[in-house]
Symmetry: D2
Subunit: 265 residues, 4 copies
C-alpha cells in the first residue's frame, strides 16, 4: 500500500511541500550581442514545492529531483519556467513553486585602463505556476558607500565601505528584464562601483569618484527606488542596502517596498 495515497482526516491543506537545499549545475544564456549561444555555467541551490489539498496524505518526494535529473542535456535559463510547470504536472498539484539561488558573473572593464575581469554576485529566482503564475528576481549587488556626514565634518578623508544592495522585482507580464540590465541600473545607485581588477589609475578613479559622490544608506535606497519607479517593466519591488560600516562592528540598513499596480493603491 502506498501510504502517501491514503486520505487525511485532519482537514488541513498544506501551502508548500517538497524538497530544499538541492544543489544542481545550471547554465544561463547571456544577452550576447550577436554572438549567439554564450552561456554562463554556475551552480544553483534549489527548493521545489507543490501545494497539497487537505484530503491527500502526502506528496511524492522522489519526483521532485527526478524532474531535474530528466534534463540530461543540462538545465538552462531557457527551461526554468518549464521545470516549474513539469513539477506541477508530474505531482498533479494545483500550485508549484521553484526557487533557485546561484552566483552569477558579469565581465566588467576597469574604469580607466579598461582591463576586463569577472564580478560575482548572488541571484535568486522565485517562480510559481498554477493558481497564480509568478516570477520574482532578486540580485545582491556589491558596491561602495561613502558617508556624507563623515566627509562634511572631517578636515580630510571620509569613512567608506563595501555595501550590498539587494533588489527584488516582479516583472509585468509580457515584459523581459535581463540580470545584466537590472545589475547595470542598480550598481549606479551607490557612491561608486566595485571591480574585479583595478590598476593604479583605476584605483585613483574609484577613490575620487566615491569622495565626490557621498551617500547615506538612505540616499542609496532612495536612488534605487527612483530608478525602479522609472522602469515600467517592473510592477512591484523591494529594495534595501546594507552598509558594512568601516567605523562600527554593525551595519547600516534602509529598506523600501513599492507596488505600482493601481489595484494595490
Amino acid at each position: 500500500p502506498d501510504i502517501q495515497s491514503t486520505g487525511d482526516k485532519r482537514n488541513v491543506a498544506i501551502n508548500k511541500v517538497g524538497v530544499t537545499n538541492v544543489r544542481y549545475p545550471i547554465s544561463f544564456r547571456t544577452p550576447g550581442e550577436g554572438h549567439g549561444n554564450t552561456f554562463i555555467h554556475t551552480v544553483a541551490t534549489i527548493n521545489m514545492f507543490v501545494s497539497l489539498p487537505h484530503e491527500e496524505k502526502g506528496t511524492h518526494m522522489s519526483r521532485f529531483v527526478e524532474v531535474l535529473n530528466d534534463y540530461h542535456e543540462g538545465i538552462t535559463s531557457d527551461t526554468i519556467r518549464e521545470i516549474c510547470v513539469t513539477m506541477q504536472d508530474k505531482l498533479k498539484a494545483k500550485d508549484a513553486f521553484l526557487e533557485l539561488s546561484f552566483p552569477y558573473f558579469i565581465d566588467k572593464k576597469a574604469p580607466v585602463t579598461g582591463q576586463s575581469g569577472k564580478l560575482d554576485f548572488d541571484v535568486t529566482f522565485e517562480i510559481a505556476s498554477g493558481t497564480t503564475d509568478d516570477f520574482i528576481m532578486t540580485l545582491k549587488i556589491p558596491a561602495t558607500s561613502l558617508c556624507p556626514c563623515s566627509k562634511e565634518i572631517s578636515e580630510y578623508g571620509a569613512h567608506n565601505q563595501r555595501c550590498e544592495m539587494t533588489v527584488k522585482v516582479r516583472v509585468a507580464e509580457g515584459h523581459h528584464l535581463w540580470i545584466e540590465e537590472l545589475f547595470g541600473m542598480i550598481e549606479k545607485c551607490a557612491s561608486t562601483q566595485v571591480f574585479s581588477v583595478l590598476k593604479r589609475p583605476d584605483e585613483k578613479w574609484v577613490t575620487e569618484r566615491a569622495y565626490e559622490n557621498p551617500k547615506f544608506v538612505e540616499d542609496i535606497v532612495r536612488d534605487m527606488a527612483v530608478t525602479l519607479n522609472a522602469d515600467d517593466r517592473i510592477e512591484w519591488y523591494q529594495c534595501f542596502s546594507e552598509n558594512f560600516e568601516s567605523i562600527h562592528n554593525h551595519n547600516a540598513y534602509a529598506f523600501i517596498e513599492c507596488d505600482k499596480r493601481p489595484e494595490s493603491a
Copy 2:
C-alpha cells in the same frame, strides 16, 4: 550643518532605516514556579529600524545603539517592548521595529532516567510600535522524524533523522504565551523529541517511540497546525518543518500559514 536634517526632494518615503547585526547580552525571565527571579542569560543579534517620511534626508544612526547602551542594568525580557517605544520616541518616528534573535535554553529531563540537561534552540522576537503595534515570536525546535513509508516497506528498521520545526506566531492582544509553553506544544508534533543527555534506558525509549510514531513531513506540519489552531491566544501563524533526510543530501520540507481573524477570511 547637520546633513541628516536637511530636506529631501526625491519624494520617496523609507519603510525601514536603522542598524543591523548588533550583538548584545540579554536576560530572559523564565516562568518560575514560585522561585521568583530566575533568569536565562543569552546573547541576541539585534536589528533596529524606524520609518522615515519622504521629506527627511536621514535618520540619526548613533541613537539606535545608544538606546541599548542606556540600559546599564542590562536588557531583559521585561524591557524589550519599552526599548522599541524608546527608539520610536528618541528618533521622533511614526514607526519603530525591533528584531532580536538569540539561542534559548530549556532544562529537560531524560524520559526514563529523569536525568536533567539543557536543550538549546533559536528564538526570534519581532516587535513593532507606532502605526501598528505588533509582536511576533518564532521558535526553531529540533526533534526526530521517522519515515512511515520506509517503515512500511522495509523488513526491519526505518530511516529517521533530525528535523527542525519552525513556528512563528502572532499572539492576540491581551494574551501572553511563554517560550516554554509554545516549545512544549510543538515538540510533541514530531516522531519523538531530542534530549541533551540520554542514558541507555532513555535511548531505548526514544528509539522505540520514534518507530511507533512514524510521520511524514506533511504529518508533522499538519499536527503543528492542529495544535496552533486549538490555542485561542494565537491569532495568526506560519509553521514549517525541515527534515534533514538521512538517505539524501537534501531536505524534506512542508509549510502552512493560517490567519484566524474573521476579517482575513
Copy 3:
C-alpha cells in the same frame, strides 16, 4: 612612487599575503571512459597567496585576480597547478599558495531501480609551489550512520541520521587520484550511502542495508583509516566523520590523522 616597492624595516617576513573569497567559474575533467572531453562546470571560492620577505613593504594585490582573468578560455582542472606557478612567477615570490573550494557532482545510480541522479558534495584543493610543492585534496562526503547501541537495546528500530565524512589526503609524488575514486572508496565506510533519487524498492534497500550495518562514529572513522592506509598513493591523511544525531541537537564526531612516510615515524 609605488609605495608597495619601498622597503620595510620591521624585520618581519609574511608567510602568506594575497586575496580571499574570490568566486570564479571552473571546469573539471571527469575520468570519462573513452568519451573524451567530459567536463563538470562548477563555481570555486578561491584564496591566492604568496610569501613576502621581510625587506619588501607590500605585494601587488591586483596581479592575483589578473592571473585568473587571463584564462579567457576558462579555468579547468588541467590548468590549476599552472595557475599557482604563474602566480609565483608574476609576483616574483618564493612561495605561492592556491586554495579552491567548490561543489562537485557525481552521477549515481539508485541501488535497485538503477535510476540515475546527481549527488553533490564539497571539494577543496590546496596547492603550493616554490620552496615546497604540495597538493592536498579534501572531500566532504554525505552518507548515513545507524547507531549499533540503539539497535542492540531497542526491540525495534534504531536511530540513524545523515553524517558527513571528511577526508583530506596528500598524494605521493608521481601518483594521481581522481575525486571520483576517493569518493567511491570513502562512501562505503558509513552504514549506507545517500542518493539523489530513491524509488520505493531503493528506499527499502537503503533502509535495510543501514539496519544490517550499524556503525558508531568511531567505526566509520576507523574504516576510513583502514581504507586510506591500504592505498599506497596516499602518503598522509586526516579523516573525520560528523554525525548529525537524530536524537540530540548536537553531533557525534571522531578524527584520525596519519602520516605514512618513514621519516615521520
Copy 4:
C-alpha cells in the same frame, strides 16, 4: 552487553572522539578594578573530545554533555580547565580536548565624547589536558584599515573598510593574559579602531585618524607580529588580518606564524 566496551581489532587509535556543536551558557570573570565579581554572560558553542586507544571499541558519548550539566551553578571562566580534566577523568582517557567559541563584550568609550558602549567580538579557547597540557586563545578583532596607495595616488579621499584581525596565542606556563589585554594590544595595529557609538566629534576623530594612519594589510599583520613578539608571556602565535575591501568584492589577507621557543628554531 555494552557494545562500546567490547574490543576492536582494526588496530587504529582515534585521535579525537566526542561531541560537537553543543551550545551552553557560560560566564566570564572580567579583570574588575577592585569591584570583585563582575561577570559577562554569554553563550558558547562547545566541542569536547578524548583520545581512544586502538583496542577500545567506543567512548561513552552521553558522559561528555553530563560533565557540562553537572555544573548546576553555571560554567564560568574559573572552571573551564577543570571541565577538561573532569572529562579526561570520567572518560578514563589519556587525552582530553575542550574547545569553546563565544561572543565577548568590552565596554569602550568613544574617543572624544567618552560615551560608553559595548563592542562585540568572537573568542575561542582550545584546551588540552593529558599527554600535553595546552591552552590556546583566539580573538577576532574588528577595526578599520585605510589604503596607503589609494591615499597617495588620489587628490582627495582614500578607500577604507572594516577589517577583522585574528590573533591566536599560546601563553607560556605560569603566565596569564586577559582577553581584554590582548584585545587592547591588537586593536591598535589597524588604521583606527571601531566603536559601538560615535557622536559627531567622535566620527570626525576616527575619520581623520584613519586618514593619518594608512596601512596595507601587510602593515597591519606586521604590526600585530611586532606587538606579539614584544610580550614574553606569549610563546607561540598565529595572526592574520582580512580586509573587506570597499573597492572589490573580495578581501585582502595577510598571515604570520611565529614560534618563539628555542627548540623550535
